[in-house]
């Protein structure tokens, strides 16, 4: 039941959102996209991004936009593998819940 833990779900969602763009995404945008789906506080994201970076699931590169610096996060091979793992777990978990709610599906 790993998805009961918010930390795991947040990790999974961050990886999923970042993986959607080939060139990666930046903190503010990642946060806004996640907020559309989950009710997280905006300050929760930085520690997650940091940890995923340390775990080598994300890499960073800096770009200048409008004379300002912007740090982009991109998913790595390892990150994709971990995301896949979360996706499989999610499927298994939600199938169990679905069965509970609506009985066996054909």
């Amino acid at each position: 039941m790993t998805f009961v833990s918010n930390a795991a779900l947040l990790d999974a969602v961050v990886l999923a959102v970042v993986s959607q763009q080939a060139e990666g995404s930046y903190g503010y945008r990642i946060t806004q996209q996640i907020k559309e789906v989950l009710d997280v506080s905006e300050s929760s994201l930085y520690p997650v991004l940091r940890r995923l970076q340390k775990d080598q699931c994300l890499t960073v590169h800096d770009e200048t936009a409008n004379g300002r610096n912007r740090r982009y996060y991109r998913i790595t091979e390892l990150g994709l593998v971990r995301l896949q793992g979360y996706q499989d777990e999610w499927k298994a978990y939600t199938q169990k819940i679905d069965t509970l709610f609506w009985g066996e599906m054909p």
Binding site: S43, Y46, N66, G67, R68, N69
Partner: protein, 420 residues
């Protein structure tokens, strides 16, 4: 809260992190504010929540929780510091009684008046000079109220004096919360030093024929003025501004051709958020500074400024002097040469650059490409050169970025270059 205030607070709360990690975290939030848009700073600060909570999450993530803030007894879980409703949330070394809010303020004012009265009487008796007495009051009264809230530079709205004079300097550093040092004790010593015990948030100096040196020092915990070659009785400090707004508002004049000098020492860990200097003649040297607002108004002085990072920077020359800055990085910059010269070697502006020449010369090199800036220029009779192109009359151009330049040349010259 502005972006600057928020980040400054966050920086203090993360003081005990390894430098690189702290830099990464602060950089993330600076970029966050930038991406949300410069017009939404207050909203963004609101959405992010208190810096204390954000800092706690950062520290927890870095495996450093529990030691969130060695400066404050209450650590990371401190209640919102913008609940400035009288009582101080921290548990400082001085135990508060049940007095809160207005009660505390009234008590403080009463003590202040009694002390003032006592000192006035003794001063009259000993023939002590007026200015010294004023200093003594500020000194003694503040010693009543010492706390170690890690209040940041500018997070308080004009709060009762009782709040602000509670020195937010780190508790460990409370060695000399108040000291007035008159080295020569003749009638009018010309070598003196004064330390202002309150946490000064703004310094406003109006000087005439003085040589001003501003330094930032991480070994001092309070704003200090040192004078040489000028009597300390010549220094006029607006005590009301000090008591009410924690602002050092002072005037000092020397005779033309004198070698009088004034050194303003700013504590690196408790920097005022705003500095304003009005200088008539003489000279001034400002170091590299990071603050909210800097204003330099020169009338014939020779002013050199280091690398400034701020929200707003205003440099103006009205006489035949020169104001010259090594680098400016700010949201809003204004360069105005009524006469004389204003120059800045590297200007990085996020929102607006205003340039004006009414007979003087303004020269600036901007970071970025010329076409990234929106331009509104008017040349009424001088020389206006933008990116190597000489402009006449009125010129309006759209820019690809979000920053804009407004240039007005009545007479004199304006030269704006771009470093691409």
């Amino acid at each position: 809260m502005t972006k600057y205030e928020y980040i400054a607070k966050l920086e203090k709360l993360l003081a005990h992190m390894p430098p690189q990690e702290r830099r990464d975290a602060l950089e993330y939030y600076v970029e966050y504010f930038d991406a949300a848009g410069p017009d939404h700073e207050a909203e963004t600060a609101e959405k992010l929540g208190d810096p204390e909570t954000v800092a706690a999450k950062i520290l927890e993530g870095a495996g450093l929780s529990g030691n969130a803030d060695g400066d404050s007894a209450s650590g990371a879980a401190q209640p919102p510091s913008d609940a400035m409703d009288g009582g101080n949330p921290a548990d400082g070394p001085v135990t508060r009684t049940g007095l809160q809010g207005p009660g505390l303020l009234v008590l403080f004012v009463v003590i202040l008046l009694l002390v003032a009265l006592a000192l006035a009487l003794s001063a009259a008796a000993t023939g002590f000079r007026g200015f010294g007495r004023d200093k003594e009051i500020a000194v003694t009264a503040s010693e009543q109220v010492v706390s170690d809230t890690p209040a940041a530079l500018a997070d308080s709205t004009p709060a009762p004096a009782a709040q602000d004079t509670a020195t937010p300097a780190p508790a460990a550093d409370a060695s000399a919360p108040a000291s007035t040092n008159v080295s020569a004790d003749t009638q009018a010593p010309s070598d003196w030093e004064t330390t202002y015990p309150a946490a000064i948030t703004e310094v406003d100096l109006e000087l005439s024929q003085m040589n001003l040196v501003v330094t930032v020092d991480d070994t001092v915990s309070a704003v200090t003025l040192r004078g040489t070659g000028v009597a300390d009785s010549a220094l006029r400090v607006d005590q009301q501004e000090m008591d009410r707004e924690n602002k050092l508002d002072a005037r000092l004049s020397a005779d033309q051709g004198s070698t009088a000098s004034l050194t303003l020492v700013l504590p690196a860990n408790n920097m005022p958020r705003r500095l304003e200097f009005k200088l008539t003649g003489g000279s001034a040297t400002l170091p590299d500074l990071t603050l909210d607002e800097l204003e330099v108004d020169s009338v014939g002085a020779a002013v050199t400024v280091g690398r400034i990072t701020a929200r707003k920077v205003d440099l103006q020359e009205e006489g035949n002097g020169t104001v010259s800055a090594d680098a400016i990085a700010a949201d809003e910059v204004s360069l105005d040469a009524k006469r004389g010269t204003v120059e800045a070697a590297q200007v990085s502006v996020n929102r607006q650059l205003d340039v004006e020449a009414e007979g003087g010369n303004v020269t600036a090199t901007l970071q970025g490409r010329a076409d990234a800036f929106r331009l509104e220029a008017e040349n009424k009779g001088g020389t206006l050169n933008v990116n190597g192109e000489s402009l006449t009359g009125e010129v309006r151009r759209q820019g690809s970025g979000s920053a804009s330049i407004e240039a007005e040349c009545q007479s004199g010259t304006i030269t704006l270059g771009f470093s691409g």
